[in-house]
């Protein structure tokens, strides 16, 4: 079919976000031989050009205006619009991240485009691009396609397979000059609660605690397991409301939605709103004192027991297993 695809890439903590690399893989799939371009923002953007090329970009637009170092809807909407004008894509992909979900509708509105948000799968069928996405808090799924015109979608992190990078690939790198018009919403301060922690939405393994953890200190037991697994720590809303964990760790309908390979739920009962945030995990382990806890209905493996006994035992068992290799 030969489509021109533009990927809006994101840099976080000095590196490209995984979802941008996933989006590039999806872009190569739907391009069907057509040109894949990406736009990346900020004063460190140029440094990412090589990695973007290796992951599938034929062309990298670098918008290195330092005003892009802090996200604002106004600046990014202008920058993305400039990239779209420069490249003329048939398809546009972005990650469904804090930035993607905020700016994509703005850009879609500006250009009169449709937009499919939070897709978990992208496929080609009879020459058309078919998107799959969750609805009703993940209790159901829908498939969608575009009637015509420019295709635009935001992609949920951790759901699209990333192609193997090709170290020999190179891209044409172009500086995209964007004159950022006056910013209407001005960021005065940012409190980073997530710096240095593994991004939950991109983590492959998550160890998560609920009310059963009983205290902030109780999370140390989970942290020991997470350390052995190289996992991120998450929490249920109940644990956050009770002050055992910061809200930045909350997984669920009103927190983060995650799709790890392995989700270990400790002392989490499994309320619908929590499941909405993690039910798509590939493997779910539940550890809970209460054999009737709803989480046991959705887990792949369950242990009924006190997490303060079970989790340390599991930590040693896994440590031994990993040392054996």
């Amino acid at each position: 079919m030969n489509r021109k695809v533009l990927v809006i890439s994101e840099i976080r903590g000095g590196a490209l976000r995984n979802v941008s690399l996933e989006a590039l893989s999806a872009a190569r799939l739907v391009a069907e031989g057509g040109e894949v371009a990406t736009v990346v923002f900020g004063s460190t953007a140029a440094q990412q050009a090589a990695v973007l090329a290796q992951h599938g970009a034929d062309r990298v637009y670098v918008a290195s205006n330092p005003q892009f170092d802090q996200y604002t809807a106004d600046a990014y909407a202008q920058g993305i619009h400039a990239a779209i004008e420069a490249f003329g894509p048939d398809v546009i992909f972005a990650g469904h991240t804090g930035i993607g979900k905020d700016v994509a509708p703005r850009v879609a509105g500006r250009l009169g485009l449709g937009l499919v948000s939070d897709v978990t799968a992208i496929a080609l069928e009879d020459g058309e691009i078919i998107f799959t996405r969750p609805i009703y808090a993940g209790k159901a799924f829908q498939t969608k396609k575009f009637r015509g015109g420019t295709v635009f979608a935001t992609i949920r992190p951790n759901n699209i397979a990333t192609l193997q990078p090709d170290a020999s690939r190179e891209a044409v790198v172009t500086e995209l000059a964007v004159e950022v018009r006056e910013l209407r919403a001005v960021v005065k301060d940012v409190v980073r609660k997530t710096a240095g922690k593994i991004d939950l939405t991109e983590a492959k393994i998550i160890v998560s605690g609920g009310r059963g953890v009983k205290s902030a200190d109780g999370f140390q037991v989970l942290q020991a397991l997470a350390d052995v697994l190289g996992a991120a720590i998450g929490a249920s809303r109940g644990a956050c409301d009770a002050g055992y964990a910061d809200y930045s760790l909350q997984i669920g309908q009103t927190g983060k939605v995650v799709t790890p390979e392995l989700y270990i739920a400790c002392g989490i009962s499994g309320a619908i709103q929590h499941l909405a945030g993690m039910s798509n995990s590939r493997v779910i382990v539940a550890i809970n004192k209460d054999p009737e806890a709803p989480i046991f209905q959705v887990c792949d493996y369950g242990i009924v027991g006190d997490l303060f006994e079970v989790v340390p035992l599991l930590t040693s068992a896994i440590r031994e297993l990993l040392n054996e290799k």
Partner: protein
């Protein structure tokens, strides 16, 4: 202070989802104000109580949405506009219906929820801001007004951004913005008499072709039922060992 609240009626997320003929079955389901929109309604009413003014609810939906509208009016909103949902509609369509309904209606602030729990897309409010030529801040957890300047806290994937923006602007609400009130009995009685204007695309002078959905839903389905998981047995130490083995050999995750 004229405040517009964009509000949608949705399924209660506790509801079981049943699919019939590729579509979600709606009879017997309990419908509620979209929880994120409820924070927006509450915030608007709080601001009105402090600074005076009016809160107008704007909803795109069917006559079924009226119950949600009356609840918002009972909480303290002053009037509402219900725009009939087009059959062939997506977020592109819905935003245009709202923008047309707001034409000639003055506003200082527009609030909405950061997403609807049924669609999970979170597009409409932001599209409306773009069409109206105003700034937006998404996913706010705090809003303070000082004259014509708003200071908001935004939830940026766990980080907290403090942002200043001039009125008029649009904000979408994240959980934690406030605790929505329950409508009082006097509120419920008053709500019955508050003005509800019902309109449609045709009434608003919109061309059906121009606003027709850009995207189409092909199918809706339930996820494959997970086969029952294994709840392990034996003493806890044995279970832990077994689990570690299974995670490696069977599940291939470690």
């Amino acid at each position: 202070m004229q405040i517009i609240v964009l509000m949608k009626q949705t399924f209660d997320t506790e509801e079981k989802v049943v699919i019939e003929g590729g579509a979600i079955r709606e009879d017997g389901v309990n419908f509620i104000i979209n929880p994120y929109d409820e924070y927006a309604v509450e915030e608007a009413i709080k601001i009105k109580e402090q600074t005076g003014g009016e809160v107008t609810i704007v909803t795109v939906g069917s006559s079924r949405s009226e119950s949600a509208i009356r609840t918002a009016l009972a909480m303290g909103a002053d009037q509402a506009i219900l725009i009939e949902q087009e059959a062939d509609a997506d977020e592109y369509t819905i935003a245009q219906l709202i923008v047309a309904a707001l034409k000639d209606k003055p506003f200082d602030l527009i609030l909405g929820g950061n997403m609807a729990v049924d669609s999970g897309a979170g597009q409409v409010a932001i599209r409306v801001a773009e069409a109206l030529g105003i700034a937006h801040v998404g996913s706010i957890t705090k809003l303070t007004l000082s004259g014509r300047t708003a200071t908001v806290e935004r939830d940026a994937e766990g980080d907290v951004e403090t942002i200043e923006v001039a009125l008029p602007f649009l904000a979408t609400a994240q959980q934690g913005l406030n605790e929505p009130r329950y409508p009082s009995l006097p509120g419920i009685m008053k709500a019955k008499k508050k003005p509800l204007e019902v309109t449609s695309a045709a009434n608003l002078g919109l061309d059906a072709d121009a606003i027709r959905a850009r995207t189409v839903v092909l199918n809706q389905y339930l996820p494959a039922k997970k086969t029952a998981g294994k709840v392990l047995s034996g003493n806890l130490a044995e279970q832990a060992q077994t689990l570690a083995q299974l995670l490696r050999q069977e599940a291939n995750v470690i």
